[in-house]
């Protein structure tokens, strides 16, 4: 986009000159003339997509430790059958990965990505917080800090964006899909919160819309930083209008789920292909707080996993040509109790898992140190222990895939260990 380049060059020269742009400014005299720091160019890394499973997803029934006796002892009803369990229909058994772990049958759509070396998981992964409170645990995890009142209020992705100046002025540099902007994105770099990409418009009928668009172009014709953001926002509006988000045709035969989450993934894929400056997208999938009637190979959680898995599989295939510049992280605030409860569900636990997808994950094995589920191996009231801090995984994503090694700022008061989950 030549316009963008021109604007950026102009900003750089204006900042170097340090002059107030007085004569042609389009607003009252008391409005500000902000000094604009010169942008240091640093190349951006992958496009990062973060899927947050809200409500504490049951890690033990996602990547099933089918080689673990204690798993079946504690989950007589909810346990996912062993891959060779003849008494259970084949399509309801665990899909074996490595002889010990296997996929929940609803995650079977992810098998091709696993086989391509583009999908893996870090098991027994999570946060040190033991509150077992959804609100607290999510807030801490999205902020990337250890306690509610320590560390910055911004989110870890927000700090990643703030510390890596890629010279990318796109208002779609970071996009949060959902009702509320994700906490992980908050920080000094503007983010776009969208119900959906199709929502990124001005509203109104076409005639009014065109006039409003032109009016905005006239009003944001200045050369101050806010006007520049405005011009970029207009570019994106135009781009998206041209893209016709509702008419987007994915390059995959796998269907995206017809849900808000599925449509969100599809729109992210569209943005990646449109090359509109997207660096980070955050999207949520809720409903994982399965205290009651969680189900096993079928049922409540199986349906959610099906939505999760088929969406990721469609995204993976749709963006296959971009796989080398794409990293997907799936996470949840904590896991669930190993022992099933009396309501055929599971209560709040501790250890969870994270899933990683993309062309540069180290595939072929399930990562992490497996703590075991036997007596003496469980944590607290009977939970999967945490053997990998979630920040170790995210830190490795930042360093290796996002070209950002400012870990002391992204995860303050934490020394991350890069454990080799990614290339």
């Amino acid at each position: 986009m030549s316009l963008t380049t021109t604007r950026r060059q102009f900003l750089q020269s204006a900042a170097v000159a340090g002059t107030a742009m007085s004569a042609t400014v389009a607003w009252p005299a008391w409005m500000p003339r902000l000094a604009f720091a010169p942008k240091q160019s640093a190349p951006r890394g992958d496009t990062l997509i973060v899927v947050f499973l809200r409500g504490a997803a049951d890690a033990l029934n996602m990547i099933v430790p089918h080689g673990e006796e204690a798993y079946y002892a504690m989950r007589p009803t909810l346990g996912i059958a062993r891959p060779d369990e003849a008494r259970v229909k084949a399509n309801l058994r665990t899909v074996d990965l490595d002889g010990f772990f296997g996929l929940h049958p609803s995650l079977r759509p992810l098998l091709p990505a696993w086989q391509a070396g583009h999908f893996t998981a870090v098991h027994a992964c999570g946060a040190p917080d033991e509150s077992r409170s959804h609100f607290k645990a999510m807030a801490l995890m999205e902020r990337g800090v250890a306690s509610e009142t320590s560390g910055p209020a911004s989110g870890w992705i927000g700090r990643h964006l703030a510390t890596l100046n890629t010279g990318n002025p796109s208002p779609l540099r970071a996009v949060g899909l959902g009702a509320l902007p994700q906490r992980s994105l908050s920080g000094p770099v503007p983010i776009s919160a969208l119900r959906s990409i199709a929502d990124f418009h001005l509203g109104g009928d076409p005639a009014a819309l065109a006039q409003m668009r032109n009016a905005l172009a006239a009003l944001y014709a200045g050369d101050d930083p806010l006007s520049v953001v405005g011009q970029e926002t207009l570019d994106i509006l135009d781009t998206l209008q041209a893209l016709d988000p509702l008419g987007y045709q994915p390059t995959t035969t796998l269907p995206y789920p017809q849900t808000e989450y599925g449509m969100g993934l599809k729109q992210i894929a569209m943005l990646v292909k449109a090359e509109v400056g997207l660096e980070v997208a955050a999207i949520d999938l809720g409903g994982w707080d399965t205290h009651f009637a969680q189900g096993g190979g079928e049922g409540l959680m199986a349906n959610l996993l099906s939505e999760l898995g088929s969406g990721l599989a469609a995204l993976h295939e749709d963006l296959f040509d971009y796989a080398d510049k794409l990293t997907i992280v799936v996470m949840s605030e904590f896991g669930r109790r190993a022992q099933e409860n009396a309501s055929l569900g599971t209560d709040h636990g501790h250890g969870a898992l994270m899933m990683l997808m993309g062309g540069n994950v180290l595939g072929g094995i399930v990562h992490g140190t497996w703590p075991g589920l036997a007596d003496g191996q469980l944590f607290g009231p009977g939970d999967l222990a945490v053997t990998t801090d979630y920040r170790d995984v995210l830190a490795e994503v930042c360093v290796k895939r996002l070209n950002n090694s400012a870990l002391t700022e992204i995860f303050p008061n934490y020394t991350a260990t890069l454990r080799g989950f990614l290339k």
């Binding site: 389009a26 607003w27 008391w30 409005m31 009142t149 906490r183 005639a207 409003m212 905005l216 006239a218």
Partner: protein, 498 residues
Amino acid sequence: MPLSRRDFLRLSGLVAASATVAACTPVYRKLAGDPSAPSPWPTLTDSNFAALSRMTFGPRPEERQRTAEIGLAAWVEEQLAYETLDDQPVYWRLQNFETLSMSANELLDWHSDLFDGVDMETVPRELAQATLIRQVYSRRQLYETMAEFWSDHFNISVEKEDCWYLKTVDDRQVIRPHALGNFRDLLWASAHSPAMLIYLDNQVNYSQHPNENYAREVMELHTLGVEGGYSQQDVMELARCLTGWTVKTDFWRGDFTFNPDFHDWGAKTVLGMKIEPASRAEEGVREAEQVLERLAAHPSTARFIAAKLARRFIADDPSEALVAKGSAAFAQTNGDIRAVLRTILLDGLAQIQPKFKRPVDFVVSALRLLNAHTEANGQLLDYLARMGQVPFRWPTPDGYPAISRPWMGNLQPRWQFAMALARNEIEGTQVEAPKLAEHSGARTPAEVVDQLSALLLGAPLHLATRDNLLKSLKDADDTELPTLVAAGLIASPAFQWR
């Protein structure tokens, strides 16, 4: 104003019980003095506009007229004496919100249901709605900006545990009574506020397992400031003093109580002050109260509060001289908030630097200046959420950021709001841009732009911008034009600043 018999009967019903918003709208709008077209129309250049934008949620023409008549200093005095300003319009509008006046116990009872569980949405939504309605309609604008200021200073998120209903009590009994009162009384009320004790975990501060959260924040964020001269040892010792400050959980759930069984009865030293253990159980609460008195009178507190007020009202980076004057006023008056604010405003207004509107400032100023009618309902809150600021939902104890930088950007939801507002597409909110333009006396499209600029921006657009704007709207007809001009100006860069 004359009421018909029919209106009177409907009014009686409204006051007596719980008429729905829809059913009583005509009457309460009549009673509340629904804003008619602004009169007189403001002038195109207004030297008080920027200062007024800082002390109000957007200056209505009446306020601009008043300052033109009596001057800014006298206007500040009028606003500081807020009790003398009639606020009936707000009073009537708030009659629809039953939960505002309920006690903690009533709130919990009212919204608990044995079968459907607890409705945790209505109480915080009504508090947010009422807050916005006050900001839009109240004539006590400076008082409302201070209520917002202290809500950030003593931040409590309704998303933390029982705060979803206790914040309503905190707003009514802590923030609003003391917003322009004495800082010591405000701090005292906040420290005894169940919502605050729960928000900062003091209800789990036991002698055997001390929790330092509130003890730390009351010094770091509420009084001394992080560089204010306290140590980790002081935090731990104050936490010991505060053991047993908790919230009733059974009878009178949600009320403050001091539980001697949880209290640490040893001797403590806080900020160099030796605190002897109370001799009688019921006097244990005095230990921390002595520290509160000390904190309220501390020179670091005077400075911290003065600097924060200067940042809110004058500039993101206020001058040292101004902070010193405000601080001196605090010390001389033993924390009279009115006196400190008077000093900051009268000395500082001449040196104000632009600040980027926070989402609430942006939305409320658009509503006020376009003379909107609003119920501030879910749709409006939804727009605010997408811009990033719903009242009382900031999770961390530092409050919504007061400086410009975190808020710059994310223009698209603001533009969408401007368009939806001007075109009357927000449920429960109405504006009449064409009527406003007609009232202004504008005859030509250029005059429409000038008059609406005078109303919304307090100044003319640059000539070239005005011409380009007119060119871009050349296809609009006579009724469309004012709507699109209003939308454009609200969405414009200038309107994002105050």
